[in-house]
Subunit: 127 residues, 2 copies
DNA sequence: CTATCTGCAAAACATTTGCTGAGCA
DNA sequence: TGCTCAGCAAATGTTTTGCAGATAG
């Protein structure tokens, strides 16, 4: 994998961010430094970087995927109204073995755990 | 809410099914009984039925959403290759209160827990 | 040098929506 | 009979892809 200018800047910006941005948000952000980058390039690189394990793709926060500069699994809190994602301040303590010990013909590889909620912005708007 | 012919048949088929079908799969299924139903009608009804709490919408299994005739929460096992969804044979025992007791400015409303795995079909194909 | 990558544009795909006529209650 | 709903088609929003030229290693 080459370290192109585009790829490097996408990675840097994502590592700096704690906001779990969408591809379009990353595109907007990166364009301040590389005005001619294309959205296709952003998508392609986010995909490659997450396949390489350098970032992670969050698939569970609504219609748009979000991306996380921290590739290691950690607990996310997701706003069920707007899809915003926040990192939880501490990890839950869970007995994973107990959880994955189910009778099934699937090959169990892991669990997905997220907290659902309403973010301050949505809470203010809708109530 | 009216019980139209279309709505009734969509609901019946979904209640009979244990396969957690996508909207298009439900469309194909229902067309055997109602050849002129439109995909838009299927989407509209699945949305209404899930808002009414008569079915549930599964938002976390890939690019297409899936639907479940059982509205009550229960544990799903999701194939991370093809998105297929299976019901787990038993519920996990979890201390939900402990999980949701995190310091955050989000209003926590629940947790999302799923098992991830590889289904028999994908396991056969890819290894 | 050359295999990988970029920008651009078009395509693909799931889902939603506007409109007009149909049908449930 | 009135209000909700269906069918159709077009629009929308996100993501992917084909291609020709650019560039990292």
């Amino acid at each position: 994998m080459r370290l192109t200018k585009q790829r490097k800047i996408i990675l840097e910006r994502l590592k700096q961010s704690r906001s779990h941005p969408t591809a379009v948000q990353i595109y907007d952000e990166v364009r301040s430094e590389l005005p001619n980058i294309s959205l296709g390039t952003v998508y392609r690189n986010l995909d490659i970087l997450s396949k390489e394990g350098m970032i992670s793709k969050i698939e569970t926060c609504g219609d748009q995927k979000r991306f996380d500069g921290i590739p290691d699994p950690h607990l996310h809190i997701i706003c069920s109204r707007c899809g915003k994602v926040q990192d939880a301040p501490q990890e839950p303590d869970l007995d994973l073995d107990q959880l994955t010990r189910v009778e099934t013909d699937f090959l169990i590889t892991g669990v997905r755990l997220e907290l659902l909620g309403v973010c301050p912005d949505c809470n203010r708007e809708n109530n």
